[in-house]
Subunit: 236 residues, 6 copies
């Protein structure tokens, strides 16, 4: 699993979140990007960190891994990653977004900052899932609260999240919540308890999905959209 | 797993298809509807067999099962089933349809008969997935070939399927195939080999998805859409 | 006309609502389901009562009726019913929903309970009418008010309805109201008077539509979607 | 009923088509535009003939008519007409287009000339009915065949229509046909017989719909979209 | 440039707004409709004034103009105008609506009166731009404020506009504003300054777009949709 | 203008295409990426070359340029570029795609290779323009023809393009053509002559659009979607 930022705290959150899902014959590793920002909060970060992780994805296949997860809700460089390798690659946002409509009529996506809302909405549109979208809401609208702040003060982050959810559930009539940032993972169980609706941690879903894909011998189609770039085809 | 028809052949196909996915601490049982038709080929069958299986779903929860799969591509009575119980319920069509867009830009759904095409298209529209639909195609258009025929002559069924796929892939430019009938499950591996694109067997996907849901402690939201019917609420 | 619940009160409301539309050479009968619930308030009821009324629809054709209306806003078993017979079959919801956009830019659907909102929204999506939907609103959100309660206290029901409409019209800017439950029929004229917008009683519309279809010698197409199920084809 | 062109032949076709639907207490008159073209085959004609018929619609209300039909498949000036008067106004295209999805999964619209195809498609998009559209097809693509030609040679017109339908039904998998020009009305019964699918004559449907609206005391909402223009409000 | 109303004030606003864009070798003239209303506030006006300006568009081509702009946000008779001539024709609304999504995720359209909201929404739907629409809002909802009032009291008009924008930006999260009436043009710069988001004056955009089309030798396609009406083809 | 590949041939094509649009007081420069591939033919290239050009965009603003064009039909890193700077940034694909629907009902996009088709379709979906899309077609489907090949043999490239257009125009009924690769620019005039429909060269359109934006003092909104990334905000 690739964590495309450089935050060790965030990496540890992911490791903890996945601990209960480790199985005897399955090994999950969480690797950070080697350089760049601590949290991806813009399209700019998606491109820069995306370029950073693409060679790591190629290396994961060369090293014999069975699949790769890009563990940032923005799914940076996800299409490029699917092109590069034959092993299955999945982004945590797409994994969560394609599960949510099975669990309820409309879903709510919770993101960190105001500026993430249009990015998240455009990603949902790109995936063709507009009809199941209830609302995308920022946990602290109108402020400059960032992912990096969230990583520092976990308790405040959790309270902001639950408060934002209560309002959003009422107004959007959503029935399912998606945590729109990998650093929110640790709050999922508490939130589900307190809010009474399913709370989807995208990272966990992505792990289940990729394990399923490997077991079923399925990966992204190489027919058109995710065909290898010309220079990588020659290599084979 | 509920097979909502009465065909023992079909049941055995499902059992065989799932054999490789049995795990030490997971037990999967395949149960047929007790009465009714051998193959669901109409909206009429969906209602009648749907009514037939609803008490079985209630019983599955009472008997301590962790989740239920409705193993017919039409997803009969799926919303009603999600209402009735607290354990996760999934239909094989929805499981497959929400996986396919992750694996390729557009998907092809293969169904048995001409008359199933609009039913399958309307189901995709209901799920809000129109933008990822390449085409729904019948394996033997213009004839009276039915699921029951397919169950009798497995080799002919397989050849019809592969031939139909070749034409459809060319014309629709789809990149992923979904097998739109649970009895096609045994051909998935051969088709993937021969056609060079991912072939999704909905039954297998549903098994992986429900195992994931159980592990993640997720089930359909009880907030609005799948709230228990009034008379079942009083029971609790 | 089939009233797919068992409530005699509801049946009488329908009879009264249709009285002004009786014509010399047209005979309209209202028949209840013989067993089951008094009001359909879930997908579960739609399946169970749907299975209950299908043989009645077959019988209606055998008895020489010219057309059938399923008089529950959920349009239970509507596609199955269209398959079964050659005479035109119409659901009251679809009749109303396909009239409303002719009368105004966006419509408001009024339903009884919170849990009906997603069901009604999904039905509109299924019919491909999302673009004309203003809002679906429950007359008593956040409470456990049910159709059965509405049938008991008609005056309170009417006041709740008008109050809910005022708020919804302001917020959704809808221009036309659809009464999303057959038991609301008797309030239509008062509401239209008081609210100043067209109020569509689906039952009445369905009667006009089916009379029109019979006069024009039109019925559901038997080409693909509503072809008779195989076992009924053999009968002919 | 307003026939917004000047063709007496076309007017007579409409009169004949409506003859079987005349009822004792209902009187239907067919009136032509006083000047302009014989057949509307462009947006230009829609504006010019639209301006021509608007005073006639105002006059119809002043003369005590209960409702107005604009009998051209392009629905010229339909929104303006709905604004002008309080009695119900309906276009024949919208009447047919909102009936067709009840009768089958996808519909086919047959138009006279190649250049009408985008106009018809844009009208369907404007009504929010894209999801039910199978195809719009011209009866004589690539030629300069016009409505005026059709009015002269009725037999050739019918043969062209039936031939075009056969091809289009196969390719688009449509289940219902809409006749996209009021002059095709007389062929509806023959076509339904020969092609085995419902054939909708928009004029006839519009008559049934407007009779229904009058009986139910319904008309276009005056709330926003169809409010009277300011200078007509002052008049009242 | 055709101003399809008869208001000299409005014409002067357009002349002033375009002054900074005059270039040495480009000449822009603003011409009013010769008769009719001072402001278009209904579908009725669109038809009547549309019929009024069509001959002026034909004359513009005959007089050797290189392109025509219809300078009313309703784009009256725009398709008919595109049919009539070979020189490029553009409506100010379409020019603005197809620029806005490049500048931000969702746009806000500001219109004068309540009744314009559905007209503006339907125009956006007709152009296929629903996904980029944030909201259409009237500057003075619930009152009888009209374009003619706005033309009389420019200061009050400006204040109403800015106030309406503040509320709408907060609620709709739009990022770009389109001025939905040509008489608002003079406030664009002040609004952009005060509100901190791009404010699009459709008239100015249309001028830039038509200059670009002329330089690139591009005009509306004459293939199907905008082919000349039959009687104008013979003329050539 | 940024040409995000390293091909000098491609750069020269752009320079030639823009020559006729140079104006006295406007200066357009074409700059290549300093390293990377000669033609962008995958999502992988979009990320890698996107990361390459982002600092060049920042530098363009620092150097006092008034606007930036990313001159590759894939619009690589376009959102990130819009975030980074305050001057207007536009991609050539978005410029063309938002012009085409003004010129005709449906447009055809011509791309080089089979694998570009889903990328181009997904970009159109991302921009919310699905309703105006006729078809995306590769000029040489089923072969391994690439942009680099096109750059070598210009005559063969032109013939392939015109041949592909003829077929696609017939089948898709499109009315406008968009050249889906910046290297096709030099064929635009010949194609328009030969095919009789408007042929849009995206590079030229982007130049006109950015000149217009600069003159009108408009740029991407900094409200949410294209706000500067946090680390660049501090810089100001």
């Amino acid at each position: 699993m690739l964590n495309p930022n450089t935050s060790e705290t965030n990496r540890q959150i992911l490791v903890d979140a996945l601990a209960p899902y480790q199985e005897p014959n399955i090994s999950i590793e969480v690797v950070n990007a080697k350089k760049g920002v601590e949290g991806l909060e813009s399209y700019y970060h998606k491109v820069i960190q995306g370029a950073e992780i693409l060679p790591m994805i190629q290396k994961a296949e060369d090293d014999g891994y069975d699949g790769v997860i890009i563990a940032c809700y923005g799914d940076p460089a996800i299409e490029a990653a699917k092109e590069l390798v034959n092993i299955p690659v999945i982004g945590i946002a797409e994994a969560a977004l394609f599960l949510a409509p099975i669990l309820g009529h409309k879903f709510l996506v919770l993101v960190t900052a105001d500026t993430s809302v249009p990015r998240a909405e455009r990603h949902i549109r790109q995936l063709g899932l507009n009809e199941s979208l209830g609302e995308v809401r920022a946990i602290n609208p109108g402020t400059s609260w960032t992912i990096v702040d969230s990583l520092k003060d976990r308790e405040k982050s959790k309270n902001l999240i639950i408060e934002a959810c209560r309002g959003a559930l009422d107004e959007s009539r959503a029935e399912v919540i998606i945590l729109g940032c990998s650093e929110m993972a640790e709050h999922a169980a508490d939130m589900q308890q307190e809010l009474g609706v399913p709370v989807i941690d995208p990272t966990t879903v992505a792990v289940q999905t990729i394990i399923g894909l490997v077991k079923m011998n399925l990966a992204q189609s190489k027919r058109f959209c995710y065909q290898k770039p010309p220079e990588f085809q020659k290599k084979e």
